[in-house]
Amino acid sequence: AQSVTQPDIHITVSEGASLELRCNYSYGATPYLFWYVQSPGQGLQLLLKYFSGDTLVQGIKGFEAEFKRSQSSFNLRKPSVHWSDAAEYFCAVGPMDRDDKIIFGKGTRLHILP
């Protein structure tokens, strides 16, 4: 069965430091992969997505993610975080070969130290 694992429930980094949020998936074939962000009191917003091609994808707000097929991973990175990046981040996976549901991981809450 398809699943998404985000092993870190909470992560705390200092403002200006680099960030990596981990995501592993289990899927029968190469999936579509997404990262969403949820800020307090706001709806989920797409940061970036991977469908095919270059395995390093760029998103909004300076985020990027790298698809590694051999590791079934799609980790999210940012070279230098800002206080406004404090939020909950969700990795999600959907099927590539047909319309079907998109499922989400449990999320990683990012805290930023001043």
Partner: protein
């Protein structure tokens, strides 16, 4: 409208009552999803519509939950005989490309069952 609209934004009800939650997707979006998000958890898939039909309702937890989308636009999630465990934020999302495209989320309907 410009985005996905969900009403009510907050609903407090008593155990055993019937509840309806409404989702108005982005105009022209053929795919519509319902998710449930409990505190500290990721969005949990409930049901996915492609047009008027439920393409996948495997996430509905039991037969107290039902959703309709009679004209392929607005959708209503119906919960009968509510239980305290149904308390959560119910999220609706729409997409123009089914499971392969970006999901646009509403801000959710927070349901509290007393």
């Amino acid at each position: 409208g410009a985005g996905v609209s969900q009403t009510p934004s907050n609903k407090v009800t008593e155990k055993g009552k019937y509840v309806e939650l409404r989702c108005d997707p982005i105009s022209g979006h053929t795919a519509l999803y319902w998710y449930r998000q409990s505190l500290g958890q990721g969005p949990e898939f409930l049901i996915y519509f492609q047009g008027t039909g439920a393409a996948d309702d495997s996430g509905l937890p039991n037969d107290r939950f039902f959703a309709v989308r009679p004209e392929g636009s607005v959708s209503t999630l119906k919960i009968q005989r509510t239980e305290r465990g149904d308390s959560a934020v119910y999220l609706c999302a729409s997409s123009s490309l089914g499971g392969t495209g970006e999901l646009f989320f509403g801000e959710g309907s927070r349901l509290t069952v007393l």
